[in-house]
């Protein structure tokens, strides 16, 4: 089976984010970059599928030079080769222009089964996998927590409001991975050394048959206007009176100060 997994490099979830002077981007200095946690489930599922059914896993990312280390991590976890969409023109992409570029990779390589994380931690759009499926014109199973493969049919379980649903589609198809799908392995140290020798191909917009203004910021349908940090947490308020009075005071507070009632 020809498997493809799309990943994104994101700031470590414990990073203390600082907003840059332009008010629209974050300060990248000192950030520890990791593979987006949902993409780790995607990589694990791709590698596991290869181990069970045979075939090859290609890992793909779009991002600046530093994103190469995310690809190396995926190769160390067992992916076989990597594709890096690296070009200044790709910078500043939104979900749409990201999907546009990634869809071309799928059209070029015709994988049977494609994995994404359900969302990239950080921007948290939760759109790219689905958009790519639409653009390529194939089925998808979103936020998947259990996957079965039976010939050219795949069945996935998804958590929905108050329950679970099972959906089925034919290959080729896209699966976006949700926590619970599996337990991602650590990149093994032998794998890390072998990853160095695995092929890593670089692609530009031209290689994908796209012009520079169809990708990145130029090709985006949405733009960032501003970023704001959540308001700093205020000191708490202690109400130390009998329960009946306290209840009244809390209602007053919610009405007049917090203005949520």
């Amino acid at each position: 089976m020809n498997i493809m997994v799309f990943i994104k490099q994101v700031p470590d979830t414990e990073t203390k984010i600082k907003i840059a002077d332009d008010g629209k981007s974050i300060v990248e200095d000192g950030i520890n970059w990791i593979v987006s946690p949902y993409d780790e489930f995607a990589i694990e599922e791709a590698v596991k599928t290869k181990e069970n059914l045979g075939g090859e896993v290609t890992v793909v990312t779009m991002g600046p030079k530093r994103a190469e280390s995310a690809l190396r991590t995926a190769l160390a976890m067992g992916c076989d080769k990597a594709i890096h969409l690296e070009d200044d023109a790709f910078e500043g992409a939104d979900a749409y222009s990201t999907a546009k570029a990634l869809a071309k990779v799928i059209e070029k390589h015709n994988p049977d089964l494609i994995f994404f994380g359900k969302q990239g931690v950080g921007n948290d759009n939760t759109q790219v996998g689905q958009l790519v499926a639409e653009m390529v014109g194939i089925g998808h199973i979103g936020t998947c927590i259990k996957l079965e493969i039976d010939g050219d049919t795949i069945r996935g379980e998804r958590e929905i409001e108050g329950g679970r649903e099972t959906v089925e589609t034919k290959l080729p198809a896209i699966v976006t991975a949700q926590r619970g799908l599996n337990e991602p392995r650590y990149p093994n140290l032998r794998g890390i050394m072998k990853a160095k020798k695995k092929p890593l191909e670089k692609l530009t917009p031209a290689d994908l048959g796209l012009s520079a203004d169809e990708v990145g910021l130029a090709g985006a349908k949405t733009v960032y206007l501003s970023l704001e940090l959540p308001p700093a947490r205020q000191a708490g308020k202690k109400i130390e009176v009998e329960p009946e009075v306290a209840a009244k005071e809390i209602v007053e507070f919610l009405k007049n100060e917090a203005k949520v009632l």
Binding site: D12, E14, N32, I34, E68, S69, R72, T73, A76, Y186, P187, N188, L189, R190, G191, I192, M193, A195, K196
Partner: protein, 390 residues
């Protein structure tokens, strides 16, 4: 590099692979070691279940390119030690012994048959080894050992007692150093051989999450094919120790880092006299000294590591590395213990555990004094540790 104390931007000196190795071992320690280690320490038990996981991930014999080894650089090997010891010196001790004192001598001095028989299992974690050099009456002076091996046909008869042996009672094989008519030689003794027993040493207050024991050899018959053919003389066990000491020089940085970061966050949160204690100059002085010594230790380890990758290191350099880094780690642990006040003596924080562990680390693999005298000899040409030898 997450949680890597990096005042001098040392991370830029590592290769991509070394950074990934760091990340993997760091994550492993955060997820698999930190949550359980204080309990194991308190119970006085080694977390044996981690051995196969570590083998599977390539942590054992990691610098070897054959027999399942990952083929890492010495710097990457150092980072493994650092991160494991950030978890606990006991875990790092396990890996030091397995990699540097068991896998290394079999690989370097062993026969093809021995390598094929033992290395794959030792590297995957299916086999556990130990290293018996120290004896009840011979610690810093192993050359005086009493353990004897006498040749009888195609077998050797071993008699003697080894003391303070890491992993002894959980080991499947032991590298035993014994005197022969032909000088000190190494033997691979397998569990199950008649007359071989490994009583555990109890009542330790340091390295409680690591197994330490005796090895008793009573007329143990070892076949000639289990003798390490490439090692005759005290120099050979000492070569193994040089490997292990190198790793300890890195390991000590791990416990120092954990103590330092714990002290910094504690000082920022602990309020006395209405302000965080981090605001007091005396506390800042302690933290500044800790960071300075930690940073110097990192540079020393990194530089010796790169020299070792090129084969340009000397055993004196490694003596300096082991001596200095364990000394500063112990000082940092003691200072952190002090900054944490009463909490500093609680196993709820890692500091006291690191502190008492480091007391062992200071002693084993050549005490601080012995390494000082190795450097003394290097500087002056006078050998000061053996008064009866010119």
């Amino acid at each position: 590099m997450k949680d890597f104390v990096d005042f001098l931007n040392i991370n830029a000196l590592f290769t991509d692979e070394e950074r990934l190795v760091y990340q993997t071992v760091h994550d492993f320690v955060e997820k698999e070691v930190k949550p359980i280690i204080a309990d194991y320490f308190e119970k006085g038990e080694f977390p044996l279940h981690l051995v196969k996981t570590m083998g599977g991930l390539g942590f054992l014999g990691s610098t070897l390119n054959e027999y399942g080894g990952a083929g890492l650089s010495n710097v990457a090997y150092g980072l493994i030690n650092q991160e494991l010891e950030r978890g606990d010196s006991g875990l790092r001790s396990f890996v030091s012994v397995q990699s540097s004192l068991v896998i290394y001598p079999i690989y370097t001095f062993g026969s093809e048959r021995q390598k094929e028989k033992y290395l794959p299992g030792l590297i995957s974690g299916d086999l556990i080894g130990c290293f018996g050099l120290t004896e009840p009456d011979y610690g810093s002076n192993p050359g005086g050992m009493k353990t004897r091996a006498v040749k009888k046909g195609d077998r050797w008869i071993l008699n003697g007692t080894k003391m303070w042996i890491t992993n002894s009672s959980i080991s499947d094989i032991a590298i035993i150093w014994a005197k022969t008519d032909d000088g000190i030689q190494g033997f691979i003794v397998e569990r199950g051989m008649q007359g071989f027993s490994t009583p555990e040493i109890k009542h330790k207050l340091s390295l409680r999450a690591s197994v330490t024991g005796e090895i008793v050899l009573e007329d143990v018959e070892v076949p000639e094919e289990n003798r390490l053919p490439g090692a005759k003389g005290l120099k050979y066990p000492l070569m193994c120790l040089t490997q292990a000491r190198y790793g300890i020089g890195w390991g000590a940085i791990g416990s120092a880092m954990d103590c330092y970061t714990t002290a910094v966050s504690y000082a920022n949160e602990r309020v006395q006299f209405d302000v965080p204690i981090a605001r007091f100059q005396l506390v800042q002085k302690k933290l500044a000294d800790m960071l300075t010594e930690l940073t110097k230790a990192q540079l020393l380890a990194f530089h010796v590591g790169r020299l070792k990758d090129k084969g340009e290191h000397t055993h004196q350099m490694i003596s300096m590395l082991k001596m200095n880094n364990v000394r500063i780690a112990l000082n940092i642990a003691r200072t952190a213990r002090d900054i944490l006040g009463a909490n500093g003596i609680s196993l709820e924080y890692p500091v006291i555990r690191h502190m008492v562990n480091l007391e062992s680390v200071k002693t084993y693999e050549g005490t601080e004094d012995i390494h000082t005298l190795v450097l003394g000899q290097y500087i002056t040409g006078f050998q000061a540790f053996n008064p009866f030898k010119k």
